[in-house]
């Protein structure tokens, strides 16, 4: 990506890209890629890394018969090696109107999510993996299946550039659809504020995990939403509908925070339970640091495996 591109795609910060360039985007589980790459595959292959011996079964490829063992013991063993494959990174970005919310401390949640998604797509393609983009939105949302060529990256970035959050969220339906649509194991990263019913949402996330995808969840929040500090009655206008509500924040603050925190805690807990990588992101954080932490922790987790 040259300077011109980053100028075109304002959400890509060269400094962040440079800062993250040395950090690999890894999957925590075996992936099913189309070509060989840096990531573990569930299949045996021809890499240099020994995997296991197993007894010969008629029909096995004789080329992988361990001749030395046969010569020494007169037994037929197959020598198998790990396969390395590429990563298919599916970025799912919530483009509902609620993501357009911007507090006074940072960019809008959508802008923040777009930067994260664009940067990750760039990193993935940069390390030879495929990146795809799916959007959760009401109309004409782009569906870009994962590909590894730079042209595709350009497409993704263009789509991100032009995307405008609009309408009510359709995240539940979209996630279910994508869980079915993305056939092979992939790294699925969801960017959303998850302002929807929690139980159906958890069903969606579980669906994705059930398909053996490596699921990462970026829960985007604004500081203002988290703290709810207002001192005078306001007219709260819903971003996703014409509904508005006049209320005195001081009076409802306790209840609001209780409900809000319960929602966050439950989502975090559920993700932990079904081994999804949950990240709560506040828009006043540094995007570079958020991604660095994400990548580093994943690298550590994989190393620990």
């Amino acid at each position: 990506m040259n300077a011109t591109d980053s100028h075109v795609h304002s959400f890509l910060d060269p400094q962040v890209l440079a800062q993250l360039a040395h950090l690999p985007l890894v999957s925590r589980f075996a992936m099913e890629g189309s070509v060989s790459g840096h990531h573990k595959s569930p299949h045996r292959g021809s890499s240099v890394e020994f995997a296991e011996y197993r007894t010969y079964v008629p029909g096995d490829d004789l080329r992988r018969l361990d001749w030395r063992v046969l010569g020494r013991t007169d037994r037929y063993y197959m020598k198998e090696f790990e396969a390395d494959t590429n990563l298919r990174c599916c970025l799912i970005l919530d483009a509902s109107a609620s993501m357009n919310f911007a507090g006074k401390t940072g960019p809008s949640k959508f802008a923040f999510a777009r930067q994260l998604a664009g940067t990750l797509a760039y990193l993935a393609v940069q390390q030879g993996d495929a990146a795809g983009l799916y959007c959760v939105g009401e109309n004409s949302t782009p569906e870009l299946p994962p590909r590894r060529n730079p042209a595709h990256l350009q497409e993704i970035l263009n789509a991100l550039q032009t995307l405008e959050p609009h309408g009510p969220t359709t995240i539940l339906r979209t996630l279910h659809d994508l869980a079915e649509k993305i056939r092979r194991r992939a790294l699925v990263i969801v960017f959303s504020d998850f302002f929807c019913e929690l139980e159906p949402l958890l069903g969606c996330l579980q669906h994705l995990r059930f398909q053996k995808h490596d699921l990462a969840v970026f829960h985007l929040l604004d500081r203002m939403e988290m703290e709810f500090k207002f001192d005078r009655p306001l007219r709260f206008e819903d971003l996703e509908s014409p509904f508005s509500l006049v209320t005195e924040p001081a009076m409802v603050r306790d209840e609001y925070l209780r409900a809000f925190d319960a929602h966050r805690a439950r989502l975090r807990q559920a993700c932990l339970e079904f081994n999804a990588d949950y990240r709560e992101v506040v828009t006043d954080q540094e995007p570079g640091k958020v991604l660095a932490d994400f990548l580093t922790e994943r690298a550590h987790q994989v190393g620990a495996h």
Binding site: D193, C196, T247, Y256
Partner: protein, 693 residues
């Protein structure tokens, strides 16, 4: 509730200002785009009931605060008497004050009298209105409406001081009505303060209907507020002079007094013992008196010795609950020569009466005249006329009426034959003989007063021993005519004409036979009285001529007729004739500040002495029920307050303080409710300002 500044009530719609501000504020709330609406809705739902209640309360308190402010500025008056009407101050307030003697009773357990309390309360109540309304005092004694400069004037004794007069409420209301009409007054209120004494209110009077109708028809609207002092529990004894006359004796003269005492005690209570002071021509003496029961007639004789000429005196009881009804005043004159005249065309029948009616001074029997002779005679010095002849014709009747109206007494005796003539509706039926073995007997007669009363020694006249063998029943033609007018048959009318029992409706039967028909009837006319007696004092008719009944009866009738010859010496307070009122009177006992029109006492004008006593009806303590008073006032709007205590603020007072305190309380509550709940910020930081949209 009444307001001193009622026009400020037009500002009442201002109570909507908080509501309007609230609505405007709702529109002016800063919009805040919000994504996490689901949590906000959830929170609002949880705290909505409390928050809404609080908001409504805040709005309510703001509205009430404004309301209290407006009412406070409008200077409301309220009290039990003025009530809670939203009427403005009236144009005219006519204060009708009962100044009768009965209003001088002390209030139960108090040291002030009903009148004093009434004046105090009325002055207090009127003070609030003196700038807005014309105050007019109409008191029962003078009956002249007087405009008052200020409410304070009510307290002046010359206007509202005690009197010994009686009150006449229908007349007062009529005067009030006339005043309102003559002065073209606007909306008016009548403030009536009275003790609801029946003799003052005259509930049977026909004028009530007229006056309430007239007041009700006034276009400006009349409201009546009645301050009733219908509580009469304090023990009280009243003294009234029943009789006073000077009797000549061989060795000089004596004064006969009869004093009626009445006290309002329950029957069976302990006998009272009190001193009675008698003042005679300024010389005071005292006697002790025992009184058992509720009423007593006390008779007393005072030896006047050889003293001649006019004299006066006072009988007084010690002070009790009502100081005005303890004294009785009298004046006695020199002996006048009382004579009787008999007009008869059958002098033989009337001989006994002629003898019995002898003049006490000259001991001469009565003069006998034929009817023709009497008609021709000009003027008469007789006090009593005994008429035993057919009833006179029109000219004769006129003459007789003149005689009675001057104060004379006339006793009509049966002519003994058919007589179709009438005298003021009275006439004679056919003579009735009794059966030989069963003469007519007298069954009952008035023993308390009148010509057949008990003697001074308390002995009854022996009427029960009278044997009447022949009588000529007395008829009342008016009664017969009334019966006819009711559409009854001529026979019934005839029967009524001949039925003596019907007489009592227009005359008072002083004695009646066992069958109910009257023996002796009396009717007042002008200053005098006339009597009809149904039998003759002759042996063919009855044993009346024997004397024990006839002599005292005729002598008393002579005394009754003496009024014709004497100048009036006794008068009820407030009933002074216009002629006498024009004279200059001074109090005979030398006390000053007494007004003959208002106060009882003995007054002197030149050679003439006049005793003024409170009207006898004032001693009748029968009270009207408040409901009865309400009924009398008919459809007039009435506010009644029965005043039994001496609280000075009972009628009304300005209550703006209440509204001021109310307003402050509402504002305080409102402020407390709108205070932001600081404790809900656990970090202790002040809430940030809402971000700019």
């Amino acid at each position: 509730m009444t307001f001193l500044q009622p026009y400020l009530l037009w500002a009442l719609p201002l109570v909507l200002v908080p509501v309007i501000i609230h609505l405007i504020n709702r529109l002016r709330h800063k919009p805040q785009p919000w994504a996490a609406m689901m949590f906000l809705l959830q929170a609002t739902r949880a705290s909505t009931s409390h928050a809404k209640l609080r908001q409504w309360l805040v709005l309510l308190f703001r509205t009430l605060a404004v309301l209290a402010l407006i009412l406070f500025i409008a200077r409301p008056l309220a009290g039990g008497w003025l009530g809670w009407t939203l009427s403005p101050a009236p144009d005219v307030i006519i204060i009708v004050l009962d100044r009768s003697a009965s209003m001088e009773s002390r209030l139960a357990g108090q040291t002030i009298t009903k009148r004093e309390q009434a004046v105090k309360l009325l002055a207090e109540a009127a003070r609030e209105f003196q700038d807005k309304s014309h105050l007019v005092l109409l008191d029962s004694a003078t009956r002249i409406p007087q405009q008052l400069a200020s409410a304070k004037s009510l307290l002046e004794p010359t206007l509202t001081g005690p009197t010994d007069t009686a009150a006449d409420l229908p007349t007062l209301l009529q005067i009030a009505h006339n005043w309102l009409v003559e002065n073209r007054a606007g909306a008016a209120e009548l403030w009536v303060a009275s003790d609801l004494q029946r003799s003052n209110w005259l509930p049977d009077d026909e004028r009530w209907k007229t006056v309430t109708n007239q007041l009700g028809k006034l276009p400006q609207g009349i409201r009546v507020r009645l301050l009733a002092f219908d509580d009469d529990r304090e023990p009280n004894t009243s003294a009234t002079l029943a009789e006073v006359f000077r009797r000549a004796r061989p060795d000089g003269a004596e004064l006969n007094l009869a004093l009626d005492l009445a006290r309002n005690v329950q029957p069976g209570s302990a006998p009272a013992h009190f001193p009675l002071s008698l003042t005679l021509n300024g010389v005071k003496s005292q006697t002790e008196l025992d009184m058992d029961g509720a009423a007593l007639r006390w008779r007393h004789k005072v030896d006047l010795g050889a003293a001649k000429g006019l004299g006066w005196g006072t009988l007084a009881l010690p002070a009790d609950a009502n100081a005005r009804d303890n004294a009785a005043y009298f004046v006695f004159g020199s002996d006048s020569i009382l004579r009787a005249a008999v007009v008869s065309d059958q002098p033989a029948l009337i001989r006994n009466a002629q003898l019995a009616a002898l003049s006490p001074a000259t001991r001469q029997p009565a003069e006998v005249l034929a009817p023709v002779a009497w008609a021709e005679r000009t003027g008469s010095d007789a006090a009593l006329l005994i008429w035993q002849a057919p009833l006179p014709d029109a000219a004769g009747e006129k003459r007789l009426r003149g005689f009675i109206e001057e104060g004379g007494a006339v006793l009509f005796l049966p002519p003994g034959r058919t007589d179709t003539g009438k005298f003021l509706g009275f006439g004679w039926a056919e003579a009735q003989p009794a059966s030989a073995d069963k003469p007519f007997k007298v069954a009952k007669w008035g023993q308390q007063e009148g010509p057949l009363a008990k003697t001074d020694e308390g002995l009854s006249l022996p009427l029960v021993e009278l044997e009447i063998s022949r009588r000529q029943p007395i008829t009342d033609g008016d009664e017969g005519k009334r019966q006819m007018a009711k559409g009854e048959s001529a026979e019934a009318g005839e029967a009524a004409k001949t039925s003596p029992a019907l007489i009592a409706s227009s005359g008072t039967a002083l004695a009646s036979f066992a069958d109910g028909s009257p023996l002796l009837t009396r009717r007042a006319l002008g200053k005098g009285q006339f009597f009809f007696c149904a039998t003759l004092p002759h042996e063919e008719w009855s044993s009346l001529g024997d004397g024990p009944v006839l002599v005292p009866m005729l002598q008393r009738l002579l005394q009754t007729g003496a009024r014709r010859l004497n100048q009036e010496t006794m008068v009820a307070c407030g009933e002074l004739s216009a002629l006498d009122r024009a004279k200059q009177w001074t109090s005979a006992d030398g006390s000053t500040g007494k007004d003959i029109a208002l106060h009882a006492g003995v007054y002197r004008s030149g050679e003439r002495l006049l005793a003024v006593n409170r009207p006898g009806a004032e001693d009748d303590r029968t009270l009207l029920e408040p409901a009865g008073a309400k009924k009398l006032l008919g459809t007039l709007p009435l506010q009644l307050l029965q005043e039994r205590t001496a609280r000075s603020d009972a009628l009304q007072g300005e209550i703006w303080r209440l509204f001021l305190i109310g307003m402050l309380a509402f504002l305080f509550l409102e402020a407390w409710l709108v205070l932001p709940p600081k404790k809900r910020l656990p970090d202790g930081s002040a809430p940030e300002l809402a971000p700019a949209a």
